[in-house]
């Protein structure tokens, strides 16, 4: 086992609202090894984006630790944080709103280089921008174009180039392809994978699209209402989903294959409120397999090597035929 590059310990993020405390992220633990990809999946409102933002301290964590290469990010001063962020970058979901419409492609890509004072010489910056554009597959003729002149795929390539500009070791990709058409989506996914191999990057890949995450990740963590309910290597998770929620989630993916007609497990109702959730299994109200014991908080337990489930009935039910 190689060195973990990132370790997240008991990370929580609460928001105070008028009607109570919103538990967006509620005690999350995981580690990622260098060069690997962790997929963070879940439905809207489950706290996956907040987790990503809290790790980079774009949002201040309420409690918990984020240890990146042995340093605790959550205690760094503003100045130190800025330095640390060179190694940790973010690719945003929407390439339409995450780019300043008044800046050219070259200016957009040069911005993080200038801001972090990686290069100061004009000529060198220009060369670096050209190099980055080549890396992400943007034609040199687009140097002086504005974002509105480009399609979604090219805009997302700018987003990738901006993230790469500081030579990071670790990138959080927050739904990087969900705004794109499938044929373009495949281009960006391939690009991210190539870059990972070439530059030994570590990714957290946040998405609601399970077929994308399966394709892309080494490990997958499934989130529900601010907590990780199941975490396992991708193949293991798809072959033996043990948590009732994971099972329903996987069975809900429409598969473009006529032979794959399969039993659909419908879960009742919708995601419950994250405001002051009761001290019971977060999935209790929608689960098809509840019992009295489920009215207690559930802990992540390792049920087979590297396969963690937060459901005390997991082994008894054995939904994934482990």
């Amino acid at each position: 086992m190689s060195e973990p590059i990132l370790e997240v310990k008991d990370l929580t993020k609460y928001f105070k609202t008028k009607s109570g405390t919103l538990h967006a992220v509620d005690g999350i633990n995981f580690t990622i090894e260098k060069g690997k990809t962790l997929g963070l999946v879940g439905e809207s409102g489950c706290g996956k984006s907040t987790t990503g933002r809290t790790i980079l301290r774009l949002l201040e964590p309420t409690s918990g630790q984020v240890i990146f290469e042995g340093k605790d990010i959550s205690t760094l001063s503003k100045h130190e944080l800025r330095k640390a962020r060179k190694d940790m970058q973010f690719i945003f979901q929407d390439p339409y709103s995450s780019l300043d419409p008044r800046m050219t492609v070259a200016e957009l890509i040069a911005e993080p280089i200038e801001f972090n004072k990686i290069l100061t010489d004009k000529k060198e910056i220009e060369e670096r921008v050209a190099e980055l554009m080549y890396t992400v597959g943007l034609a040199p003729r687009l140097f002086n174009s504005y974002p509105h002149e480009l399609d979604g795929g090219r805009r997302q390539r700018i987003g990738v180039a901006r993230a790469l500009a500081t030579n990071p070791k670790f990138i959080i990709c927050d739904e990087p392809v969900s705004a794109l058409d499938v044929s373009i989506q495949a281009q960006i996914l391939n690009l991210l994978k190539e870059l990972q191999q070439k530059m030994d990057l570590t990714y957290i890949f946040i998405t609601h699209d399970l077929s994308v995450v399966n394709h892309f990740s080494d490990d997958i963590a499934v989130m529900y209402l601010g907590q990780i309910v199941e975490k396992a290597p991708s193949v293991e998770l798809f072959e033996h989903p043990m948590h009732p929620y994971t099972q329903a989630l996987l069975s809900a993916i429409p598969i473009p294959d006529l032979k794959a007609k399969k039993e659909r497990i419908l879960i009742k109702g919708e995601i419950t409120s994250p405001i002051d959730p009761p001290q019971e299994c977060r999935f209790y109200k929608r689960c098809n397999y509840t019992c009295e014991e489920c009215r207690k908080n559930q802990k992540l337990v390792e049920i087979s090597p590297n396969h963690f489930v937060a459901c005390q009935r997991a082994m008894e039910l054995n939904l994934g035929n482990l």
């Binding site: 439905e43 058409d181 495949a186 281009q187 077929s211 193949v235 429409p254 006529l258």
Partner: protein, 330 residues
């Protein structure tokens, strides 16, 4: 076969200051009673414009709709007056839009909004229409007493159920659903698709499902039509389209998808982008991106049939022994 919809040579263009945008170019579509067809394609393929043209909702100007034949259940939609159209829309044909957040009026209760369409099309009293609205709510899985709530009090999935209730309130012959679940989470999507399937069986409603998700088509539809640059490039039963794929673009779509059962290292994207609809190539619009393109593709393409149901718009099949790489599945 009883035809609910019969469209021949539909063309829609938008005459703008920057040139003429050719959104739909000579599309043929037929749909039998109780059948469902998936209209698949990427952004800008002309799926939504086709749907709007069927309802005569294309804004004019700048939109110009031309068509040889546009019949719904034997009635000619193309020559109808505004008044006649009003009685057809919502009654014989209705539409579910992509975004349930904006499809509902925020200042009316959901009950009122369902009752409105019943009141408009059927000879009933206000009280009666409200009662029917509550029945519709129950039908889509929402307690009747919530009829007095406003849209903002519902979640996304619930709002889409309300929109479905409005669309089905008058038991239309044909329902057009434009990406009805794109804004929803997968588990909620599963609930909504399940609901649509049950209601369609109950009322024998025909369905045009517009989507970019081939998985949804496989699950909900009987037939599939793949659109590219304003025309259908491949059409057939699910068996034809999924297991005996013929058109290079359809093949490209399948190859771009991450496959859950086959984790290969790299995906195979379609190179390049869809052509600019103001400057469509004269020949096959997919020719610039097509791995099988040849000189013969620079001519306008004609439709060929592979069996009674399966048609493909690709002249490469004139070459002796031509086939695409995707394997046929038996």
């Amino acid at each position: 076969m009883d035809k609910v919809l019969d469209v021949k040579n539909l063309a829609v263009r938008f005459e703008t200051e920057d040139g003429v945008v050719r959104a739909v170019n000579g599309l043929d579509l037929e749909l039998g009673k109780g059948r469902s067809i998936g209209l698949v394609g990427e952004t800008g393929a002309g799926k939504t414009t086709t749907a709007l043209a069927l309802l005569r909702l294309v804004p004019d100007p700048p939109g110009v709709v031309e068509c040889e034949k546009l019949e719904l259940d034997g009635k000619d939609i193309l020559t109808m007056s505004a008044k006649e159209l009003e009685s057809v829309r919502g009654n014989d044909i209705s539409m579910i839009f992509q975004d349930p957040m904006t499809a509902l009026n925020p200042v009316f209760t959901v009950g009122e909004q369902i009752a409105e369409s019943i009141l408009l099309h059927e000879n009933v009293t206000k009280v009666e229409s409200m009662k029917r609205a509550m029945e519709m709510l129950e039908l889509v899985g929402i307690p009747a007493e919530r009829a007095y709530d406003y849209p903002h009090e519902f979640s996304g999935g619930m709002k889409q159920r309300v929109v479905i209730a409005i669309a089905l309130a008058c038991h239309p012959q044909l329902l057009i659903a434009d990406e009805p679940t794109t804004a929803l989470d997968v588990t909620i999507q599963a609930q909504v698709l399940d609901l649509m399937r049950r209601l369609r069986e109950q009322y024998q409603t025909s369905l045009i499902m517009i989507t970019h998700d081939l998985g949804i088509v496989a699950e909900v539809c009987d037939e599939v039509a793949v659109m590219y640059a304003g025309n259908i490039v491949e059409k057939g039963t699910l068996e034809d389209g999924f297991n005996h794929t013929k058109h290079p673009y359809t093949e490209g779509l399948f190859n771009s998808l991450p496959n859950i059962n086959d984790r290969k290292a790299m995906l195979t994207p379609i190179k390049g982008l869809m052509p600019d609809p103001t400057h469509l190539p004269e020949g096959c619009p997919f020719e610039p991106r097509c791995p099988y393109a040849g000189e013969d593709c620079k001519q306008p393409q004609s439709v060929r049939s592979f069996n009674e149901t399966h048609t493909v718009r690709c002249s490469a099949y004139d070459r002796p022994g031509f086939h695409i790489e995707r394997k046929e599945i038996d």
